[in-house]
Amino acid sequence: MTHTAEREAPASAWSALVPLARGVLWGLAGFGLGVALIAVLRAGAGRSAWSLELSITFGYALGIVGWLFGVGVWERWGREWFGLSTKEGPTGWQRYFAFTLDHKVIGIQYLATFLLLFLLAGLFAVLIRAQLLSPEGAVMGEGTYNQVMSLHGIIMVAVAVASIIGGFGNYFVPILIGAEDVAFPRVNALSFWLVPPVAVLLLTAQAVGGWDSGWTAYPPLSLQNASGQLFFSLAIITFGLSSILGGLNFLTTIIYMRAPGMTWGRLPIFVWSMFSAAILALLFTQFFAAAMLMLILDRIADTSFFKAAEGGEPILYQHIFWFYSHPAVYIFVLPGLGLTLEILAHFSRKPLFAYRWAVGGFLGIVGLSAIVWAHHMFVSGMDKRLIAPFLVTTEIISVPTGLIFLSALGTLWMGRLWIRTPMLFAMGVVFNFLIGGVTGIFLADAPTDVNLSDTYFVVAHFHYTIIGAEIFALMGGIYYWFPKMTGRMYDERLGQLHFWLMFLGFNLTFLPMFWLGLHGMNRRIATYTPDLQGVNIFVSVMGFILAASFLIFVFNLLRSLVWGAQAGADPWRARTLEWQVSSPPPVENFPAPPVVSGHPYDYGVPGAPAHGVVGMAGGSDEVSR
């Protein structure tokens, strides 16, 4: 998008808060309107005007519309629907606090918001480990523990692990394919501004009693507990809408906005992984929204979808929930794996091994992920005839996953490994994901799963795939792209220190959990049998080290942001398009339209053409490496 017209410079820094303040104000007005509407309707039917969950649901529905319109949808978009001219947004640093259309600004907005929430949810994990220092629970009551565990789970799973998609997807997919922005910049901004209400809902749920059903919210508990469960459901629906719009945008962008010469066979592998994740986000998220809608209706409207006593079916919830939530794991992990392959290729200084097979792996996972969900439900009491088919499909999905893994190993094999912090994290992913993948087999096989289900074995496996693959890839990506996003270099020694502390802390925290699970320690329970205390103390201490490693990370980033050395356009001597422009890239990404004529990873291939040339073809020797 071109925005040549500029507003006059804002009078003071406070003016940056104007859109936010207007969003809050309009949001409150919408909330009041919704509550008043319900009050009138209920009073008309001779009932009390205020009904906590009903009033909040309708107030929230209108409140979120008010928030979005106030924060910028009206000025930058909505006016157009009524034949009026739209207004320009702020420039300068204020654009990070406004409804800004530049995908790079939105990427930073996502990344900053999600990293804050990630650190917060990490603090909840520290509380969990503090509690488990003692078999009877060291720091809080069992009810509080359940709520802390639930908060940790949902903030991590729903929000924090979306950092790669929301942050890097927005910032780098358009640049990597040679586009000047995403296909729908306004929808993109809308997706981001749906996120703050999610955070507000999850963190204010305590005001109405919180919720204690974990991140999975199974009925019947989720129909019986405090009203915090309603906040949870509304937050999920809101975040789901944001992911759906994001997925739609990425798919359209990748299909339509590629630069001349950027064929499907020349797409950087990270873009392929984003494409796969976007398909999953676009389609399957609706099932989570549908599950939450039914849950809300069961709570506020007297329906009986999940009420066994009224003829409903609680197991239905699990089917619908996992039909989304298993693919959701891939929504998080696929971009992580794509980013890992990307970093491995650049830092091994050789072509990505089996590029086409890796792409096939991503697309194969997309296809298979729709038919594996019930492996989460082997002990749920579902129809026994479903167990064998889902066991088989789950085992089969390790084939495309294996293709990606082999691509990673083959890229490292005989490579000229350039050990820098991003590379360390990428190799960490390879190590961790092997353990995460292999232990998954025992959970996919029903006979072993019956014994391991709901123990710490599951916790360990899950964290090996999500932290081990996704969060390690996220960290690698942050160090890899930090010079591009900020124009400054991070501190290499601190980066490597962060890696080693995090890698050792992570493995020493979660490896013993497999043992704990095999010895019968239940997950999601605030207490355990005293004979397991020794290992639990060890796990907790290692967990604290893992948490402490992020202090180094935050310190390094903040310090480098201000005092880091100038990074230059291409500190990694990498071939992909983002490194062919200045750091940070100009507003429209490329000073001239890029032309793509080679494969992105042809390092050391004699006679290979440059991946992409920005500007006149053959004009600069800087890009012909």
Partner: protein, 187 residues
């Protein structure tokens, strides 16, 4: 200038981009509707209460199908710059939509089964979610009508009309699946 050329290129691709975005949105929405339809068969099987008002069901279905025809005629009219026919058919579509919603309201207030029965849960939530889509479609049609009155849209550019009417057809198609799932299926 090269940057300007790139802009022209994106501009040329814009119709395709918009179409794809719209169809992806429909694909996504169809997953929401199929989740609801799945729930209906899981909790209530193929049960269907005898008290269901079949005449009313058939009537509102016909009204909605008819509204897709008038919507189509409206789109054809603006494509050949026939503004009076465009507005006329648009208005007819909105009126038929209103009639459909009125039918749903009558159905809801006279239904002899309750929300808390399995079939009732499915019936009220499926018709409710569908009707909310109909209402949002009507709001968009009304906006298009208002803009059309003020001289917006022409044969050269009517994407806003096309998108709204495609959405209307989509909501109609959903009902083509919901109607038999709620009114006709029995075992």
């Amino acid at each position: 200038m090269a940057v300007a050329a790139a802009h022209a290129d994106v501009k040329a691709r814009r119709p395709g981009i918009n179409q794809l975005g719209l169809w992806l949105f429909f694909a996504s929405e169809s997953f929401l509707f199929s989740a609801l339809a799945t729930a209906r068969f899981v909790i209530a099987g193929t049960d269907r209460p005898d008290e269901l008002n079949q005449a009313l069901g058939l009537a509102i279905t016909s009204v909605l199908l008819l509204s897709s025809l008038t919507a189509y005629l409206a789109e054809c009219a603006i494509a050949r710059d026939d503004r009076p026919a465009f507005l006329r058919n648009l208005l007819a579509t909105i009126m038929l939509g209103l009639l459909f919603v009125a039918g749903v309201v009558v159905e809801w207030s006279t239904a002899e089964f309750h929300l808390s029965e399995p079939y009732g849960s499915a019936f009220f939530s499926m018709t409710g979610v569908h009707a909310s889509h109909v209402v949002s479609g009507m709001a968009m049609l009304a906006l298009v009508y208002w803009l059309g009155l003020r001289g917006h849209f022409s044969a050269k550019g009517y994407w806003g009309v096309e998108a709204t009417i495609k959405y209307w057809h989509f909501v109609d198609v959903v009902w083509v699946f919901f109607y038999p799932a709620l009114y006709l299926v029995s075992w």
